[in-house]
């Protein structure tokens, strides 16, 4: 495979994690502008583990993911008592705080005569694990997609489980859910924790692929994009956000002739879609329709 294609596919895979993370919160009826914070936390934490503490890749990734999930739960406890617009703005404020903390965060150790580690706004260089261990770009891409497949499986299991129905119910009508004896706030915190975990996997993978992270990548535009993917693709199924990512990165960014106008096309597309299909292309109704058709064919 040629390098450009592998690069684009790896990108689609990694961004899919953060899109899925925003999608999970959309299902419980909350809009988060701040999923990039968990992506960033995991990128830094797992990079520190492999590049500075000499950990292996998998424990490093697991550590980064765990830190991101823990951060998400900690943020969820105070912020999920407030809802709607207020929660969205609180996540935005939190994510910007995380980014600005990384702008001043310095933690370096000397390895082989060179200083390695996050250096404030200059970023975090030399997260070289996959190069030092001779993992090729194609192999790494397969690792990304293996993890993505695992996360997708988890999402489909979730949709069929009791937890999934509770999430959907809270998203449809939190007052009604509360009347059924469901602790809405606790389930929303759980959803945010899981979303932090999913974003964390993507962040760890991202840091090791690019070998260099800097705070300004994790700005609010990344968060808004990940949110928009779910809203374009549809909130009916976990494939929805993936379709959104494929449209944006696979189509708009990768075709050079239109990539200069990407934001104009993408922004307009989101705005128009929100008018005509407020819950995306593959919304719940569309998914049910497809499911019925498939069932009839099998019968």
């Amino acid at each position: 495979m040629d390098d450009h294609l592998v690069g684009v596919l790896s990108n689609i895979g990694m961004i899919s994690f953060i899109a899925l993370s925003a999608y999970l919160l959309l299902i419980v009826g909350e809009i988060s502008f701040g999923q990039q914070a968990f992506f960033a936390i995991s990128a830094y934490a797992s990079g520190i583990a492999t590049a500075m503490w000499g950990w292996d890749f998998w424990p490093g990734l697991a550590w980064g993911t765990a830190v991101a999930a823990a951060a998400a739960v900690l943020v969820g406890i105070p912020t999920l008592r407030i809802r709607g617009l207020y929660f969205s703005i609180a996540t935005l404020a939190f994510a910007e705080m995380v980014r600005l903390v990384f702008e001043v965060f310095k933690y370096q150790v000397e390895i082989d005569g060179e200083m390695v580690g996050p250096d404030g706004s200059d970023g975090f260089r030399d997260i070289r694990y996959i190069f030092e261990n001779d993992i090729t770009a194609v192999e790494y891409m397969l690792m990304i997609y293996g993890l993505l497949a695992a996360v997708l499986c988890a999402f489909f299991l979730l949709e069929r489980s009791r937890l999934g129905s509770i999430f959907r119910m809270i998203g449809q009508d939190p007052v009604l859910a509360e009347m059924q004896g469901i602790d809405v706030t606790a389930y929303k915190i759980l959803a945010l924790g899981l979303a932090g975990l999913v974003a964390g996997i993507g962040g760890g993978l991202y840091a090791h692929l690019t070998t260099f992270v800097e705070p300004k990548i994790f700005n609010v535009m990344l968060g808004v994009h990940s949110l928009a993917y779910g809203l374009i693709g549809g909130l009916g199924t976990a494939f929805g956000p993936l379709i959104g990512v494929a449209i944006d990165i696979g189509f708009l960014e990768s075709i050079r002739a239109i990539s200069g106008y990407r934001m104009i096309a993408f922004g307009g597309l989101v705005a128009v879609l929100l008018i005509f299909r407020p819950r995306g292309l593959l919304d719940e109704a569309a998914v049910n329709w497809i499911r019925l058709r498939l069932r009839r064919r099998h019968a």
Partner: protein, 299 residues
């Protein structure tokens, strides 16, 4: 102590520009109960229209100001039609996301149309800073503060002394009741949006003229500062917007002095986050009361 007091004065001056931005923001929110995140970018586009008039025709301050306000109003109308009018009542979150998408579009249009990063903008005055004992003030800041006060008074008269203001308040109080009284809600919200955009245009002109230059980043800055100031004061409250802006300005001025410039935005977001968690209604808002009212309406 002299430092602290001088910082407070600086903060009030800085804060009056935030207050100006927050007034337009809060007017839209007060009438529509929706958040227009494209507010800053539409002001930014207006300021670029102003700079174009300045560069092409060597126009004076007044013509540039008029062009800025006109540009901001036209872009504001575009945003209103696409993100607010076209999206059905009640879908506040869809409007918010849609306005974020349009934000990206507007920013991209400006970066393509104006490829250099910074453009000159005619300054407001060339007067020297004034001294009062141990303290000093910039003339532009005093003008800005005066404009903030004048605009607030004007808006107060418009809201409480005219028939249009009465209609506007009726729509803000209860859209359904207003409709039964024969008020054309779409027309009222449209005019309120145009008013807010004009106020935004004035604010934008004053701020950009003080800086003497404009970059596409101004949109992000204006939205965030206006948003934080509005949330601190309480969404939908005009006195709240003024006080919120001043509070934000003072906190920023103190943090620049005592902690350093890199902590300025961090402190602003931390303040916002704390307010959202402990007092989501802001200084003058009624977040909890509003939630209860919505719950009651559902029953």
């Amino acid at each position: 102590m002299v430092d602290f007091v001088q910082n407070c004065f600086d903060g009030v001056m800085l804060g009056s520009s935030y207050a100006l931005l927050a007034i337009g923001f809060t007017l839209i929110f007060g009438v529509m109960r929706r958040l227009n995140l494209s507010y800053g970018p539409s002001i930014m586009l207006g300021a670029f229209v102003g700079t174009l008039v300045f560069l092409e025709f060597r126009a004076g301050g007044l013509a540039v100001a008029a062009a800025t306000v006109l540009g901001a109003v036209l872009v504001g109308i575009y945003v209103e039609r696409l993100c607010f009018w076209a999206i059905r009542q009640g879908a506040a979150v869809a409007s918010m996301v849609s306005s974020f998408a349009i934000w990206m579009q507007l920013e991209e249009i400006v970066t393509i149309a104006f490829p250099d990063r910074t453009y000159p903008f005619p300054p407001l005055t060339r007067a020297q800073p004034m001294d009062f004992g141990p303290f000093f003030f910039k003339v532009e800041n005093l003008v800005m503060f005066g404009c903030a006060v004048a605009l607030t008074l004007g808006l107060h008269l418009l809201l409480y002394r005219t028939r249009f203001g009465l209609r506007l308040r009726a729509v803000a109080e209860s859209p359904d009741a207003a409709r039964y009284m024969g008020i054309n809600i779409a027309a009222v919200t449209f005019l309120a949006f145009a008013c807010a955009s004009a106020i935004g245009g004035v604010a934008g002109y004053l701020i950009v003229a003080q800086d003497g230059q404009i970059t596409p980043l101004f949109g992000l800055w204006a939205t965030f500062k206006g948003l934080i100031a509005m949330m601190l004061g309480g969404m939908g409250s005009i006195p709240g917007a003024i006080l919120g802006g001043l509070l934000l300005g003072i906190v920023e001025a103190q943090s620049i002095w005592y902690l350093g410039t890199e902590f300025r935005d961090l402190c602003a977001y931390a303040l916002l986050f704390l307010f959202l968690v402990f007092r989501p209604g802001g200084l003058f808002g009624h977040a909890l009361a509003e939630r209860e009212r919505l719950a009651l309406r559902r029953v």
